[in-house]
Subunit: 402 residues, 2 copies
């Protein structure tokens, strides 16, 4: 399969440790070649030699929208609707505030009970700040979402791919149903941008946020992105109204006047180093379509799931949907000793991660993962489970940090 | 004076273009040697080779507090009270929200009319979100501040050094008076951290924010910092309650539970590249005290102000206080053609900046600026003003960006 893989040539564009099978690109993407050079040039020449003038001469000031438009292309959003800035958490706060403002007769944020925690925490922070008269949260199981979409809901906030089991929402149809009920949609694309074809414009998505450091390979803590559909922008205000979102930041006028376009969703001075790394990391996407990436992703997860189910390992449950169209680019296995198994896999050179209470996640990043990686991971898992290596007491004592 | 300068040796620790006099370190500090190496190591080894495991093995997860404590030492705050995170704008939003929460019987944010705009814009954003029943803003001229400190005021938000004229507040006495009236203080240290000795603990400052990319030389858009005095932390909540501020972020629990310490002021995943650059830039401060830096700063600004007033240039007004103890590390000159003069200076190799409506700012960064720089800048200014070079129409047509 690797020999016939049309995307096999992309692996050499990344730095991949030779002695490991890296299946955690859904948490931190591997390093693309070219990033070090780009960041070094930025530091030594743009900052070191040209100093403050680089805000103009090297267009640092335009980076949030320039990189934003590159990200927009990957998610099906025409230029002028995406900015690269801040973190997902901060961007969610901006957009949830905006959503409540755009639906002044409604006050509810609807979400999924096992949405990624930071999404729910941020909604909670906003609701605490505004109080129950202006903002409430309802979070329900996935199968109760459509039923809960009533006229009390201002915005439906969902992650496209669930971080635990890798299951996928049908973004187009959920968005359509929400709109029929007057509800805005805010999608978290953390686990789908760059690995699942998205058509935010065509599907009439109102708002979205996404992550730079997972399948986009932008580096640790890379800046996130924020999307707001053009037709909402003129009416949209957001409370983190820092100077970079001002219509004329360098006039230093006393009153806030939002930029006419998507830049009104910027807040403080953008982090140029991190954004330059992400910008360089995006170059690889100029040479491949997300559709091709998705095809290989489906084949990788299918191969791995088949291998695991053939092994029929005691205590292991596959919790990721068996239909490739219903899952993202990860496979999640549950086992009561999931944490210890994840540690034993890491010690065996298969880098995966663990998500409480019992989930081992295998993330497949099609630009650099090989079909051989899926086979090696399954073989390693077999040895660990069959030989009960995970019962080594050293594993259970390890701290869980990431 | 340069020959007798005990700090002269620090200039070689920075990359300074040989053909320019750089007097804009108050806007973007020069590049310290060692930053490129640190960031390259982070990218190639920590990210490229060790990948996701670096969150533990290289303690990325501890960076916001570790770098925060280093910053705390520079501003007189004991460990556990400063985190390095987000931008000043975002951090102001958190702390203003906290201040209103800590003073539930008060709703006013008091500030200075010509505070740095982003500070006022963020207050405005919060006030718009909360509405006039819960938050109002009053901004008054500097000389009316103390009079306005009454029992309606929850928090006094001030910049230590004014970005336009470089004038300095007496942080200790203003804080004391505010406290006598039950008012919390929030200081913006953007133009003082690293160049003016501060004693946040001794002066009982409640809250502060500061900038990584000015006198701390952390690079373009370096992460900012946030300070909250220890005795407030247990009661302090903030609305940008992202997962990094959670008591146990990797438990992925559904409800937000703030970290027991200053980490509750973190929001999303921290930008590791930018923070590593700042961390490396701080190394120079291990070898020099802020008190020594301040002595040289006063001498530099004094020399420049004397040179300018001796020239007695037509139309030029010095608007920075003549008492060194009453100003920061910049000298501001006003002239009706200030913008054109700033552009002519830049063309002559003297990098300054312009602030509307008519101010040319000369920032002195004592770790790398020489006394000769002050003399060269004054001489260049003399030629430009006496020969009226600034009347060249090309200058007035330039866009003002930074």
């Amino acid at each position: 399969m690797d020999l016939n893989d049309p995307l096999a040539r992309f692996r050499e564009r990344f730095k991949i440790p030779a002695d490991r099978v890296y299946l955690d690109g859904n948490s931190l993407g591997a390093l693309p070649h070219g990033v070090t050079e780009r960041v070094t040039r930025l530091i030594e020449q743009e900052w070191g030699d040209e100093l403050i003038t680089s805000w103009n001469s090297n267009d640092w000031i335009g980076m949030p929208t320039r990189v934003g438009d590159r990200l927009g292309r990957l998610v099906g959003a025409a230029p002028g609707q995406v900015v690269c800035t801040d973190s997902i958490s901060v961007n969610l706060f901006k957009l949830l505030s905006t959503a409540l403002m755009l639906r002044p007769d409604r006050k509810r944020i609807l979400s999924q009970r096992d949405n990624f925690p930071t999404d729910l925490y941020i909604a909670e922070g906003l609701a605490s700040l505004l109080g129950p008269d202006r903002c409430t949260i309802k979070s329900v199981p996935a199968d109760a979402l459509l039923h809960a979409l009533d006229e009390s809901v201002a915005v439906l906030m969902l992650s496209h791919v669930n971080f635990r089991d890798g299951s996928l929402h049908d973004m187009q149809s959920v968005t359509k149903i929400a709109h029929e009920r007057g509800v805005l949609v805010l999608w978290d694309l953390a686990h789908s941008a760059g690995v699942i074809p998205l058509e935010l414009d065509e599907w009439q998505v109102d708002m979205a946020v996404g992550c730079g450091y997972k399948f986009l390979n932008g580096g640790p803590g890379a800046p996130a992105f924020l999307h707001l559909a053009k037709h909402h922008q003129q009416r949209a205000a957001q409370p983190l109204s820092g100077w970079m979102g001002h219509a004329n930041p360098f006039a230093f006028r006393p009153g806030y006047e939002p930029a006419a376009d998507i830049r009104r969703f910027l807040a403080g001075t953008p982090g140029i180093l991190g954004m330059a790394a992400l910008d360089a990391a995006l170059d690889v996407f100029d040479d491949v379509s997300v559709k091709e990436i998705r095809q290989k992703s489906s084949a990788l997860t299918t191969l791995f799931m088949k291998a695991v189910s053939k092994l029929d390992l005691p205590g292991i449950r596959v919790i990721t949907p068996s239909d490739p169209a219903a899952r993202g680019s990860q496979v999640s296995l549950a086992h009561e000793n999931g944490f210890e198994i994840s540690q034993a896999l890491i010690d065996a050179g298969v880098i995966v991660d663990f998500r409480a209470p019992d989930i081992v996640r295998f993330g497949f990043s099609p630009l650099y993962n090989r079909f051989a990686d899926a086979q090696l991971a399954a073989a390693s898992l077999r040895r660990i489970v069959e030989e009960q290596r995970y019962l080594d007491p050293a594993y259970s004592q390890r701290p869980q940090v990431t």
